[in-house]
Symmetry: C2
Subunit: 334 residues, 2 copies
């Protein structure tokens, strides 16, 4: 059983998962993304994954067979185990609990050679709908406090399977990154009675040309953040306040897919299809109506330039001003 | 002039330094560490660095010539500029200030082929003394709030020069990593009237065999942290409370050098001389007597295994239990 341990100083939870070291890909340096013959995520290879927990397929198709457009399966090498209770315990100054959680893989397309950014807006909407459907289902488990949906694209971003996929992790704790955002949002709310992300959206949209907006439609806006940590970092936010991605009205996912597709294609065009991380930050479970948290997507391209400084220092240095990155991305035709 | 920008939600300061993109090494993928002929940090090439701000050399040696054992120079490609005032300004919800600071390089040895872990305890003590001497000098500048000393070893850790060196950065803000530690230390102090790191040292030393202590002498202890973020992460702490590294009594640096040397050699032996990050966390300037902060060194080996999960999720997964790492390191003869 993996174990969750809390850092006694900063409160950051870490998964100690010694079983996972047995995962063969953990020690692979290169992955041949083009080798569809051995891909466990391709149609026809369904028996090579654990049994699906969700799939969108045409009427009449059998579960765990081909014919799907999006398919969700448990991770064969989970970071957390779905069985068992949390068994929270202290040991002197230290805190731990069992590594109970779910770890699922969302196979985003049946086409081995297509990346998320290559899909149509309708196909990306189906991926987002799969995130939503799985998140709503996982939210029924009272042991879980947070649902992480994210994607590592490309081996330099940590992906070990070339076929387009994202991951959903159900955690019994709140990740430090989200906890810091909740605290910051709370502080702004306490002082101003406004959502800080709503203020950011308002200010970004009012700055016009020369600002950090990459694109927007009537529901969503994509910006290069004011204090971007790395070149071409992008953030996609709903224009009106909403704390939980998974409780958006159904119609929103189409509008989100449009913006996400355009951003991915612009980044692909600007940086020659870079590896990237895509992260969803949504409200903790049971807090869907928070006035001081605003869900958003973070996209971080992984660039080959090794700045080095921040790795040792913990302090980020960004050699591309977000205004320049946004201007560049605005001009790229996707 | 570089700019410091604060994330409006989590309060993390980021350096936006567009000039730095011109640094040629930023786009280099590989560095030939063995090519001493072109090394700007070797004796005889002193004119290829900015003029030294500190050097330890035998009596009679001229500044900016050979004969030194440790030499400190301003970084030729600084992340921050030492001239100018902070010019702090708000812009709606955003905060910024000028990127004023110092950025220095500590050349740790005249020998091109020797890494920090290859040096004698006396030579490592001289490196630590150089950190201290520069930190005490930089602390006189009232614009600075924090001094970061760190080291990236190996190109996979972000180092762009093969010759052993560390860096010291003087910042007008407190880095997020240290700010989180200060807040956590403060919370423990408020609740318990004790330093959390003193509690950690006490608990680690009392657990005996099977615990996470790698080694200790009468002044310092090296442990694999309870919630280590990555395999073989190590933390070196003074056994009695002290907030500021640079205000240790002179005799302490020799004892620290002994422990640091042993840890580096054990990690080198265990992991075949891995790349690593080494970071000093000391108290903010002007707060040398904090009861709730305890200075320490963090050593993070950079392993080739790409876990990938934490990059997208912001949640760390460690496939090696710190007890196992500590046991392994205890047995390695350096």
């Amino acid at each position: 059983m993996p174990e969750l341990r809390k850092d006694p100083v900063v409160g950051r939870w870490v998964i100690i998962a010694t079983e996972r070291a047995r995962r063969p890909q953990d020690f692979a340096v290169e992955h041949d993304a083009a080798d569809a013959r051995t891909c466990p995520f391709c149609p026809g290879a369904e028996e090579r994954t654990p049994r699906e927990v969700l799939a969108y397929r045409a009427p009449g198709g059998a579960p765990n067979g081909p014919g799907w457009s999006v398919r969700v399966v448990p991770n064969r090498y989970p970071a957390l185990m779905v069985e068992g209770d949390l068994d929270k315990k202290g040991r002197g100054v230290y805190d731990r609990m069992n590594g109970v959680g779910a770890h699922e893989v969302v196979i985003e397309t049946p086409h081995h050679e297509r990346a998320l950014g290559d899909l149509s807006a309708g196909e990306i909407e189906a991926v987002l709908a799969a995130w939503r459907d799985r998140m709503l289902d996982l939210s029924k488990d009272g042991r879980f406090r947070y649902l992480l949906a994210f994607k590592n694209h490309g081996s330099a971003a940590g992906s070990t399977v070339g076929h387009a996929h994202s991951q959903i992790i159900a955690l019994p704790v709140i990740p430090a990154t989200v906890r810091d955002e909740l605290a910051g949002g709370r502080a702004h709310w306490d002082r101003r009675d406004r959502c800080i992300w709503c203020d950011v959206v308002e200010q970004e949209l009012s700055e016009g040309d020369g600002g950090r907006v990459v694109l927007a439609n009537d529901q969503f806006v994509a910006v290069c953040p004011w204090a971007a940590r790395s070149p071409f970092e992008c953030c996609v936010l709903p224009r009106r306040h909403a704390a939980a991605f998974e409780h958006e009205p159904r119609a929103s996912y189409g509008a989100l897919a449009e913006v996400l597709r355009a951003v991915l294609r612009k980044v692909d065009g600007a940086l020659d299809r870079p590896p990237y991380h895509l992260m969803l930050h949504t409200a903790p479970l049971g807090e869907r109506d928070l006035p001081h948290f605003h869900w958003h997507l973070e996209l971080m391209p992984v660039l080959g330039t090794v700045a080095g400084f921040e790795w040792g220092s913990g302090f980020h240095i960004n050699p591309v001003a977000p205004e320049s990155a946004a201007e560049f991305l605005r001009k790229v035709t996707a």
